[in-house]
């Protein structure tokens, strides 16, 4: 187990700066997930932690010891790669024991550690097989086993489940969750799958364009996003955003399909509001509602129904999450109601205005 500290980490490839100063602390035994859009630098950051690429600027420390110039194997880190990266000419046992052999561990010790890890991962019957004789899920277990036998201080995972089919992914996700509880080792996990990040991580780091947008627990990020990017990135389907029109009397703002009041006295001027699909409700026009729109499409997923509502006098569309049983007719004009407490208000530069307390107004 180990504490990982990154301060001012920068990485450039030629003239392109991929990481623009990352400050982050991963506590001992913590499971941290890096999420962000493609090209945000999450995999690059993981490679820097592993020692596969050199840090351009900044400092990295493991348990207080600066490791900028320490080679990968000496950092006490093991990495599980997206493509498994198993050595195709070696058996499963040889794959798992390769790092230990390089470290000069005795044969008995290697065998014992490989056997233990193989039993835990239920691959003990395949130890003599070559990777090509294994299924995708088994290969991923071998890749994880190869990391476990090294008994590292920190585990790194680079989108380890993205090559598996949906059902196997769920199974392996549970496997990793169990592993996390059993080993209690510090883990850093890169993923583009929000469900993996939300379910596995103690802490999520949202990266965008080489910068950390927000660090927090999964629910913190969901409930209290610090900016529009995080608000839009965390949550599926993503948060609905509505641009605020010019303020009229009593801080009333026109939004497509209705009007909303955001009391004055804020740190910066509100420019946009956001509300999650699950916090919206479809109501008959006779009932109290704030926005009006027309149902243009519905998606029935069994457990949920997503209604896409075009707002009156606008091309903007809201996604509303409803229960699976709820039937909504297409082209039906309908009212949208919501709890104003659930609204996030953003300034023009995309920052959350935390003190904003909007009031939902009744549609005329």
């Amino acid at each position: 187990m180990a504490k990982l500290e990154l301060s001012g980490i920068k990485k450039s490839f030629g003239t392109t700066e991929v990481l623009k100063g990352i400050d982050l602390t991963v506590e001992d035994g913590e499971f941290v997930a890096f999420v962000g859009p493609s090209g945000c630098g999450k995999s690059t950051l993981l490679r820097l932690i592993c020692g596969l690429d050199e840090i351009t600027a900044g400092q990295m420390a493991i348990d207080g010891q600066i490791v900028n110039d320490v080679p990968p194997a000496k950092r006490g880190i093991a990495m599980v790669f997206q493509s498994y990266a198993l050595y195709p000419h070696m058996t499963v046992a040889d794959n798992m024991g390769y790092a230990l052999r390089l470290a000069g561990t005795s044969k008995q010790e290697i065998k014992a550690r490989v056997d233990t890890a193989a039993k835990v991962l239920r691959i003990n019957n395949y130890l003599d097989r070559k990777p090509r004789q294994l299924s995708g899920g088994q290969r991923q277990r071998v890749a994880i086993g190869r990391a476990i036998v090294r008994e590292p201080r920190i585990f790194l995972f680079d989108e380890p489940l993205s090559n598996l089919d949906a059902s196997l992914r769920v199974e392996m996700r549970i496997e990793i969750a169990r592993m996390k509880d059993r080993l209690g080792t510090t883990m850093v996990y890169v993923t583009h799958d929000q469900i993996e990040a939300m379910t596995l991580a103690d802490k999520i780091v949202v990266l965008n364009a080489g910068r950390v947008e927000q660090v927090g627990s999964p629910l913190d990020l969901y409930n209290k996003p610090q900016n529009r990017f995080v608000a839009g990135f965390i949550g599926s389907p993503k948060m609905n955003f509505l641009t605020l029109g010019a303020a009229t009397g009593e801080s009333r703002f026109a939004v497509p399909g209705g009007e909303i009041r955001i009391p004055a006295g804020l740190s910066s001027a509100p420019a946009e509001i956001g509300i999650r699909p699950e916090h919206l409700e479809l109501v008959d026009l006779g009932q109290q509602h704030t926005l009006t729109g027309t149902v243009s499409m519905t998606e029935h997923l069994g457990s949920d129904t997503y209604a896409y509502v075009s707002l009156s006098s606008s091309e903007e569309m809201l996604v509303v999450r409803l229960s699976g049983e709820r039937a909504v007719k297409r082209n039906q004009t309908i009212g949208i109601a919501f709890d104003p407490e659930m609204i996030h208000v953003f300034s023009a530069d995309g920052q959350t205005i935390a003190s904003a307390r909007p009031v939902a107004l009744e549609a005329a």
């Binding site: 490679r47 493509s83 498994y84 050595y87 090509r132 294994l134 090294r150 090559n163």
Partner: protein, 278 residues
């Protein structure tokens, strides 16, 4: 459109293949049958398609009375050594081109490949005085080095293409496991690259085994001669008329290449990297 499963198509394809096969294999067939015919039958005005009487006399004479065994051994030494050295050098050069980024990598590679654009004979003109200067003329080492000059660029390029496709993650995984760069190359990359290495070895071996121009020019002593010039000078002179012997010797000379192919061809089709990465 032509229906590929129709009888007409089958007949057309069959006939085309038969014609190609005839042109390809008839010389080989003629070589085999002629080597097995007795002298009297060989010189008939109307040649026979099948030997009326099979004799191994020409093989016996070629192997015992001429210098064929010496030529064969010389060829084996020069071709084997040049192929081995060539493959070894190409391995390291290709890997460095494929997986490392350093100053001058691109120009060096282009320079190396440009050597292929010169006609073989032209380079011989510059190699000859150079080898004379270094005392490499009429030596097997000189011949081996001259073969490397030619085969190395192509061999390097062949391996470069393969190494470029070796997944970087595989190399990263080995680095994370604690292997040094050379160790990764020796214990991970080379073992999964056996098929292209065998291909390169065979290519280099065939190149030097089939060479006539260089060995004829750079080797003067009869006891150092390789199989190509050896056969040519023994059997294709104005006074010679031992066609049976020439055919038998040619077959014996071709045997190592054919045998090598028979044993090593499985490597060409074997997908060793299957299962490495998804």
């Amino acid at each position: 459109m032509l229906d590929l499963s129709s009888t007409t198509a089958k007949i057309v394809f069959g006939l085309t293949l038969a014609l190609i096969g005839f042109f390809l294999f008839f010389p080989v067939y003629w070589m085999i049958t002629s080597s097995l015919k007795a002298d009297a039958e060989l010189y008939k005005i109307i040649p026979t398609a099948f030997p009326q009487e099979i004799t191994l006399h020409h093989y016996w004479t070629a192997l015992t009375q001429g210098r064929l065994p010496t030529y064969l051994l010389n060829s084996l030494i020069t071709s084997g050594s040049s192929a081995a050295l060539n493959s070894l050098l190409a391995l390291y050069a290709a890997y460095s081109f494929a997986k490392y980024d350093y100053f001058g990598r691109q120009p060096i590679m282009l320079l190396m490949l440009s050597a292929q654009m010169f006609p073989f004979g032209l380079l011989l003109i510059s190699i000859y005085p150079l080898w004379t200067q270094f005392g490499l003329l009429d030596t097997q080492i000189g011949l081996i080095l001259s073969y490397i000059v030619f085969a190395l660029p192509v061999a390097t390029y062949m391996l470069f293409s393969y190494f470029s496709q070796v997944p970087d993650e595989l190399i990263d995984a080995a680095r994370a496991d604690g292997a040094s760069d050379l160790r990764i190359f020796h214990t991970i990359v080379i073992p999964i690259s056996i098929p292209p290495i065998v291909t390169v070895f065979l290519y280099s071996f065939m190149w030097s085994w089939n060479d006539l121009l260089y060995s004829m020019t750079l080797i003067v002593s009869d006891d150092k001669r390789t199989i190509g010039p050896g056969l040519l000078l023994t059997y294709l002179s104005d006074s010679n008329s031992d066609w049976g012997g020439a055919m038998a010797a040619s077959l014996v000379a071709s045997a190592p290449i054919v045998v090598a192919f028979m044993f090593l061809q499985r490597y060409f089709i074997q997908g060793v990297t299957a299962g490495a990465v998804k």
